[in-house]
Symmetry: C2
Subunit: 155 residues, 2 copies
Amino acid sequence: MSESGLDPAELLPHLMRLGTVLNRSRLVERAMENVGIAIDRPGLTVLITLRMAGRPLRVGEIAGRMEVAGPHVTRHLHDLERAGLVRRVTDPDDQRARLVELTDDGAAAAGRYLEAVLGRFTAAVADWSGDDQRTFGRLLSRFVDDLQSQLADID
Amino acid sequence: MSESGLDPAELLPHLMRLGTVLNRSRLVERAMENVGIAIDRPGLTVLITLRMAGRPLRVGEIAGRMEVAGPHVTRHLHDLERAGLVRRVTDPDDQRARLVELTDDGAAAAGRYLEAVLGRFTAAVADWSGDDQRTFGRLLSRFVDDLQSQLADID
DNA sequence: TATTGTTATACTCTATAACTATA
DNA sequence: TATAGTTATAGAGTATAACAATA
């Protein structure tokens, strides 16, 4: 091989910076303020999870998609329900289970939030060439896939 | 423009997945076990910060680079010092300040840890073309830069 | 008086264990 | 007896406030 690939030691600082930017920029908090959602961050994640699913989910399904423990979800559903953003109904097929669905208010809030956050990403890559944008999306997706399966192999 | 760029709504799920993979895969914990470092995660971050700086740092500098509050660093320095991984010496130029430096053990541990983690990334992109690897490194770095400045503008 | 660092305290997020109700 | 969910409790990580020492 005449050409060497990427030095992975270069990748790590970028990934660490990405984490810092996403976690510490108050991106999420600011979008929530602008949108007027009066819930905390994991509560918002529950809302987004439901919105992305596009259908009512069971508590266990929400926990699975968020990759957190069940009680974590239960606790936040109280707040969301009190705020009128979600509704809990008993699953007609299984009396043990309960389906959680977005109210109209909840769906609207989640939509406005996503719009605000996506606006940031759009602005960040606004002056990129269309080619670079598509390539980045493709390689990022591939990287996450490969990293995930690479890490799964260890277990 | 005849070609449309990336739909940012596509980017968000990838970024969320990346966060999940990095945070929940126990990548960090496993590397620490293999390397035999008996400290916790933020303590390790202190170690890596010192290692990447390549020189002794003040407590405030460490906190700044980690983007956390000062007391957080102080607390973990106790553990690191007790484990013989760092050493605190008074700054000869300013008696108020204290310089934190890696011991030989600390430098070796940080080095072994970085090697283990970087090995994962190397393996993840191992079957990529050299071209894709370099392009990904370039675009990822650019994306973080642009996102960071985009978010900084708001303040 | 301003700055460096420490001590003490509290809050957020997540996990585990024990319990209740239905299948 | 197994499964879905809830309640109760505990732990990790980080932030803020109050303080001590030096500049």
